[in-house]
Symmetry: C2
Subunit: 152 residues, 2 copies
C-alpha cells in the first residue's frame, strides 16, 4: 500500500478494499506458537495430530489471527489515523492453516458508523478474509475498528 | 479443574461454569508479542504509547486472546472430548491489558446445539470473560466449540 495521507473517519468509504502482502509459515512456527499459547496435540505434534479432528498438524486459530494482524498492520496500519485499534468483531475459521501455507489478507470496508454521542471517534466495520495459496478462506474476521474523527 | 472423564456433547450442560488459573504478563512479553504480530507504537514503545489512544503501553488484543486460550487449555482442554476446537465466535476488548496485569478466565456454557444433519459433532457456545486483578473484564470471547457426540 502506498504512503498516502492517514485516513480519518470522514475519509473512509464503504467498499474500500485493501490487499496485504503474503506470509508463509512453517511447522516449527506452528509448534512454537502453540507450545506457548495453545498446547493441544493437533497443534504441537505432527504424529499425534493425524489421529485428531484436523487429520494432521494445524496452526492454532489464534496463530492465524496473529499473522493476519501482522499482515494488516504492514498493509494499512499507517493508513488509519491513530493506527489499527480493534474494538472487537466476529471471527471464524473455515478450514485449518497448515505448515507451508502462504497466507494473505483481503479486506473490505462494510460500514462507517458515526455516533452522535461521540465527537472524537467512530467505528469502521471491515471484513478481513485470510486466504491460503489456493485462494481458500482460512479465517474471516469482521472487525470493528476505532477511527478518530477530523473534528476531534 | 479436577481430572474428570472427558465430556461429549451429551454431557455438556447449559450453565456449566469453569474458572482458570491466573497468569501475570510483563511489559517485555507485551513488546515481544507485538514486535512479532502487532508492531504498533502503543504495543511496542512505552514512551510513544503515552501519546496514543491507550495512554500507555497496552497488550495487543491478540496477545490477550492467546493468553486466554492458554488459560482455557490448561483449565478445560482435557475436559472436552477431542480437545478445545474453536469454530469461531465474537470477541471484544472492553479495556486494555497492561503490563503486570494478572489475568484469569471465567467461562459459562450458554448453548448446546445438536444438528440433525451431523451425527458426529455439535456446537457448544461458551462465554469466556478474561478478567484482570481488579475483576474488570479485558476481553469477552463468546466461542463456538466443536464437541464430538458419543454416538459418533
Amino acid at each position: 500500500m502506498s504512503k498516502n495521507k492517514a485516513m480519518y473517519l470522514e475519509d473512509v468509504r464503504v467498499g474500500q478494499r485493501f490487499s496485504s502482502d503474503s506470509y508463509t509459515l512453517t511447522s516449527s512456527q506452528i509448534i512454537g506458537f502453540a507450545n506457548q499459547f495453545d498446547p493441544q496435540p493437533f497443534h504441537i505434534d505432527e504424529q499425534a495430530a493425524k489421529e485428531t479432528f484436523f487429520n494432521g498438524l494445524a496452526a492454532s486459530g489464534w496463530h492465524t489471527a496473529a499473522i493476519t494482524m501482522r499482515l494488516l498492520v504492514d498493509c494499512v496500519g499507517e493508513r488509519f489515523a491513530g493506527g489499527l485499534i480493534g474494538k472487537g468483531g466476529e471471527i471464524s475459521w473455515a478450514r485449518p492453516t497448515r505448515a507451508e501455507d502462504t497466507l494473505h489478507v483481503e479486506s473490505e470496508v462494510l460500514e462507517v458508523a458515526y455516533s452522535p454521542a461521540n465527537e472524537e471517534w467512530g467505528i469502521v466495520k471491515v471484513r478481513n478474509h485470510t486466504l491460503n495459496q489456493d485462494d481458500k478462506v482460512v479465517q474471516t474476521f469482521v472487525a470493528q475498528i476505532i477511527v478518530p474523527r477530523k473534528i476531534a
